[in-house]
């Protein structure tokens, strides 16, 4: 479904993403983890067209999307969320989702129906009329997911949607991700904290200093000496 080959991006002397290759099959739920500065978000930016790679290629659904503008990649079904959530602050929660749905339908009524359905699914319906900026951060993260879902993803890239949630919000979001996955959506999660990812995903990719250092089931990755070394001094729960 998604094939990433030798993807590379440099910032000055720093190679933020260094010849990273992997592929994601349909229906997978994959976690991408790594210490701060490992290149996780840069990788997402490269996949979704917000940054141009210095080398390598990205194929999605059989098409070479390297260098495509972000909106075309999103329309093809490779949709991302932002780590620092970016809902449209002065639009209502409903309109945030509706506007993404409008990309795929000329009908305002149809877009609104889709938006309501997604708000119910994500538990945001009670806040539909509130301006997005008035939501607490936990709900704003979920709104970011709801809006991304309205963009009709085939593969959803989630950038740290679990970080910073309180235990209750965390449980709700984990439930939401499981339901989406069971519904057939392919998911790739970036997380800094690993406990949840280790529980949720059957496959984990570890980045360190821009390189992929491990790729496999969580138990195996957790025992990998290179991974243990990369995370030295950090709390690690397998």
């Amino acid at each position: 479904m998604l094939e990433v080959r030798e993807l590379t991006r440099r910032f000055g002397g720093l190679t933020a993403v260094d010849r990273v290759s992997f592929s994601i099959g349909p229906g997978e739920m994959v976690g991408i983890i790594g210490p701060n500065g490992a290149g996780k978000t840069t990788l997402f930016n490269l996949l979704t067209g917000f940054l141009r790679p210095d080398g390598g290629s990205v194929r999605f659904l059989g098409r070479d999307i390297t260098g495509w503008p972000p909106h075309r990649i999103a329309r093809l079904g490779l949709v991302r969320t932002f780590q620092l959530v970016r809902p449209f602050p002065n639009l209502t929660v409903l309109d945030n989702v509706k506007v993404a749905a409008l990309v795929h339908t000329p009908s305002s009524g149809e877009a609104e129906r889709v938006a309501w359905k997604l708000l119910e699914e994500t538990g945001l319906a009670p806040f539909a009329g509130a301006e997005a900026r008035s939501l607490p951060v936990g709900l704003r993260k979920r709104l970011e997911v709801a809006r991304a879902l309205a963009a009709r993803p085939r593969l959803l890239l989630l950038d740290e949607v679990l970080a910073g949630l309180n235990p209750e919000e965390l449980a709700e979001t984990l439930g939401l991700l499981r339901r989406l996955h069971e519904g057939g959506l392919t998911l790739v999660l970036i997380e800094h904290i690993m406990a949840a990812v280790m529980r949720l995903c059957r496959r984990v990719i570890v980045l360190h200093q821009g390189r992929k250092i491990a790729d496999g089931p969580p138990e195996q990755v957790g025992r990998d000496p290179a991974v243990v070394e990369a995370y030295l001094g950090e709390e690690f729960v397998a």
Partner: protein, 332 residues
């Protein structure tokens, strides 16, 4: 409950105010006998329409242009020249100007994808100045710096009228068209997508919105409508002077009216135009030396008002005036 969540909840109040203003304008030729006042009303309507057209690019798409005189000027020249050379109907020239302006708007639209903020504004100023040079120097075609007198052949078929009353209706008709288009850009499907682009361009692109194309569309429509305003203005005045129609004054006035009235809402430019144009008209009538008024005082007042509005009322005067109206209604 679900149906009652409009995209812009305040819109109905805005529309009511706009409708009231249109009705007042439509009645004015029946009541008002003073030609100077009718002239002022025509100008208020014309500038309200052009500021509304400006607002489609500047307010709704966030592309602040200070070169809209380029489109206005193209409208004036392309309505004037075919009449002078071939005696064609002004309607033909109006269409020609609109088409040419849309073409130039397309170029400006692509510029807007390369240049942001002040750089875009500077590029638009440069464009209007280039057109000024072309039209004031290319004597063989444009008659050069002396300008172009338009032969007066009254009649609707030639878009020329005797007296002031018909012009009020012509300008009102133009304003209604522009306002309807602006409403679509405010609350229609396009408007909702543009709202997302204004709020956060990257986030909009991330859900699949083609932010570049939307901005280009807004600028092209804005340019086209502005050229129609130029054509109407030229027909009502009967003379085209390159140094006026391509001047920065014209560009700034369009932006100023929209900013002072309230950018990004359809009713803003209407309120802005009433304030600015009636003040200007009043000053022109009261100050003895028209030259002194033209060059000095206007600019000082413009500048002061602009600074005050941007500093203290970044949403423009529209919200303030609307809330005053509402309070008045509650009190009564």
């Amino acid at each position: 409950m679900k149906g009652e969540r409009p995209f812009h909840p305040r819109l109905s109040a805005d529309q009511a105010v706009a409708l009231g203003l249109f009705l007042l304008a439509a009645l004015s030729p029946l009541v008002v006998r003073d030609n100077y006042l009718l002239d002022t009303i025509s100008l208020i309507l014309l500038w309200a329409a052009m500021a509304t057209a400006w607002n489609i690019a500047g307010g709704f798409a966030g592309q602040v242009s200070l070169g809209h005189a380029a489109f206005f000027g193209l409208g004036t020249y392309l309505v004037a020249l075919p009449q002078v050379y071939w005696g064609w109907s002004a309607w033909f020239g109006l269409g020609l100007g609109a088409a040419a302006s849309a073409g130039v708007g397309l170029i400006v639209g692509y510029l807007s994808n390369r240049l942001r903020g002040p750089y875009f504004a500077l590029a638009t100023i440069a464009l209007s100045q280039v057109l000024l040079v072309v039209f004031s120097r290319w004597r063989e075609v444009t008659k050069g710096g002396e300008g172009v007198p338009i032969p007066f052949r009254p009649g609707l078929e030639n878009l020329a009228f005797v007296g002031k009353g018909p012009w009020v209706y012509a300008m009102l008709a133009y304003l209604l068209v522009v306002f309807a288009v602006a409403l679509y850009f405010e609350r229609g499907r396009l408007g909702q997508l543009l709202a997302a682009v204004r709020e956060d361009e990257d986030a909009a692109a991330a859900v699949g919105i083609d932010t570049r194309r939307l901005k280009v569309v807004a600028i092209v429509v804005s340019a086209l409508l502005t050229a129609v305003g130029g054509a109407l203005w030229a027909q009502s005045i009967g003379f085209v002077d390159p140094f006026y129609v391509f001047s920065i004054d014209i560009s700034v006035k369009m932006a100023l009216i929209a900013i002072i009235g309230g950018m990004g809402r359809s009713v803003g430019p209407l309120i802005g135009s009433i304030l600015i144009i009636s003040t200007e008209s009043y000053l022109r009538a009261t100050l003895s030396g028209p030259q002194a008024g033209q060059t000095g005082l206007y600019l000082i007042i413009y500048g002061l008002v602009l600074i005050l509005v941007v500093r203290f009322l970044p949403q423009g005067l529209a919200p303030l005036i609307l809330s005053l109206l509402r309070r008045g209604k509650v009190g009564a």
